[in-house]
Symmetry: C2
Subunit: 387 residues, 2 copies
């Protein structure tokens, strides 16, 4: 096979940290990426000579950007799907495909997709508004505690809440929602699958995730997940089903609940590199970012199975700090080559803003965990008047 | 310690593959680099939003570029030292310092420096021209075979030749030269040392190097070098001496001959990331590129000792091919996560042009070697009419 790196021009919608890591993880294959984002100082903008500033929901300018490229991909879901549909009609390669993105943008459609294909997920109802939800409760069709997820616009835990009892019903949002049974969770895991244009797949073994209680953000990812071989195999199988039923191209990250009764429910999907896949940057696998680009270029996929135990922690903006970001005690981490910090390059911090992540590798998960705890206590992102 | 990544603006002279890897290896610390090069399509230009086009030897425009930054560094030696001297006088931080670069640019000064500080190197004479050299031979002060190195302008094996006997004297260049005794080489090794502004050092253990017979380029680097512990220790000590005597800041790569009689001679130094240090990208150490930037920012240095056996091979343009570069059989390497290709992103190939390198890691050096041989037979950089 002959490979000429610049043969196909790749345009990326969004230029956040995921876009930045798409650059740094594929530059060694001489991949050049163009970016489109509303923020000219977005993380990926610093490392790209082809940056276009515009609104990701603006149909016309997203379409214009796409028409200058051969392949269009995303690093954020909130983009104009209409523009992507038009680009596909114009013969452009759009990965993930517009139909996938349309489904992902609406949690109601996501749930219906899973339901249709008999892929297990929490039992649910789709409700148009508050009135609809209250009728459901009144009719005893949904018991406490249950989960409300707004169909659109949620991300990083926003747009999701648990309603524990009758007293909390006044917290309900009057919005089109998914109302679903609260899972009885043993552990939350995620599986990421890469699927190439010609259908080759590579599956990243499951990681387990712990969430930050206040920020509702993943703050601790363990690779490999501490689950039984049987549950692992089932989770890999479910991930393959999702990608294949969608005829998906690129990365698909799938968050799953492993319930106390041993069942697995698909929670949510994201058709792009994912926070839970950052361990692949340092665990010996070919990273999720590289496999995403390989998949959309229809190059052979790389080994997704890392040989190093790894913990990823998110670096969140310190509570009470808002302004130009400054990193305190980073120097204390720099001499250890098992500690891999990734500062995303966001200019400003605010409480619980995702400012970076750190991968910690090692030989014994116990040692890695205590190192991870120490780092969480040590490294701080604070604001400063230096700027 | 508080760290604000963008506090100091760093300008890099040269935008070749070494510059490109400075970007990709430090983006995770939110380092942004600006580049200056005469080629607007140089490898690093693709991944930087701050690129300035100009002649590296043009005193005035190099000076102007430097004045827009706080720290000025290089990724190629052939730059205007006068501009760097002026920048230092204007209070800028220039690393490597102008006095180091001045010495490095002239192999005569390099040899004299080593001689002055009693650092072992091949016995030598400095000659002004051909006449001078012939007088030396006539007076039996230098026996065959000997080496001629032009004092200025040589790189990647250019400007160096061996004169084996009287018949070859007509090959001599009529240029200011170092004439030195040919070493009786057991193995060639290289040691890279990083030294920070405040004098902290990190030393990369020696690698051994094999050279391509026709191209006179390193084509095979083995980490760790297969040498005795005693020779290793001596080589590390010599590297430290060089860096300290120069009061050097940044990376200093030192090529050495280990002679059959057990002596070590310093061959040449380069005050920048070096081809022989590319193994550090994948052997588990903090890479030479990252330590260079840490050193000039006076951040703590990272661990230089990799825990994985690694072989690096250079990817050279195929003989007989000149034009737009296309990679044949790259796909065959992509499924193995122990094989790390680095395509530099040079648009055009020509015979023996350094187009990339590949790191191969593994558990047994014997297996790595056979894999490396297979890759050398498999991967080809050819030209194509595709462009």
């Amino acid at each position: 096979m002959l490979f000429r790196p610049s043969e196909k021009k790749i345009g990326v919608l969004g230029a956040g940290q995921l876009g930045k890591m798409l650059i740094t993880e594929t530059a060694h294959l001489d991949i050049e990426l163009s970016f489109y984002d509303s923020d000219p100082n977005a993380p990926a903008a610093k490392h790209s000579r082809k940056f276009f500033c515009g609104d990701l929901m603006d149909k016309e300018s997203v379409f214009d950007f796409g028409m200058d490229h051969d392949i269009i991909t995303i690093e954020i879901e909130h983009v104009s799907v209409e523009a992507l549909e038009l680009l596909e009609q114009s013969g452009k390669q759009v990965y993930p495909q517009s139909h996938v993105l349309k489904m992902i943008q609406d949690k109601g459609l996501q749930k219906s997709f899973l339901d249709e294909h008999k892929i297990p997920t929490a039992p649910f109802f789709l409700c148009e508004d508050l009135k609809d939800i209250l009728l459901l409760i009144e009719a005893n069709k949904m018991n406490f505690p249950f989960v409300q997820k707004t169909r659109k616009g949620g991300y990083d835990g926003k747009g999701v809440q648990i309603i524990h009892n009758e007293q909390e019903l006044n917290k309900l949002w009057d919005l089109p929602s998914v109302i679903e049974r609260k899972a009885d969770i043993e552990v939350e895991i995620a599986v990421i699958i890469a699927r190439s244009v010609s259908g080759e797949i590579a599956v990243y073994p499951p990681v387990s995730m712990d969430f930050h209680p206040e920020a509702n953000l993943v703050e601790w990812v363990v690779y490999p997940a501490e689950i039984s071989e049987e549950i692992k195999e089932r989770s890999l199988e479910l991930a393959k089903q999702c990608a294949q039923r969608l005829n998906h191209v690129g990365l698909l990250a799938i968050e799953m609940f492993v319930n106390r009764d041993g069942s697995i429910w698909i929670n949510e999907m994201a058709p792009r590199p994912h926070n839970s896949g950052h361990v692949s940057l340092n665990n010996g696998a070919v990273s999720q970012f590289e496999n995403h680009i390989r998949a959309i270029l229809d190059l052979p996929l790389g080994n997704a199975i890392g040989n190093l135990e790894t913990i990823m922690i998110n670096v969140l903006g310190e509570a009470g700090h808002e302004g130009i970001a400054v990193y305190n005690n980073l120097n204390q981490l720099l001499s250890d080559s098992h500690v891999h910090p990734f500062l995303y390059g966001k200019e400003k911090t605010k409480p619980y803003r995702k400012m970076g992540h750190i991968n910690i590798t090692g030989d014994h998960i116990k040692d890695i965990k205590s190192k991870a705890k120490w780092i969480k206590q040590t490294l701080q992102v604070i604001s400063s008047k230096l700027g």
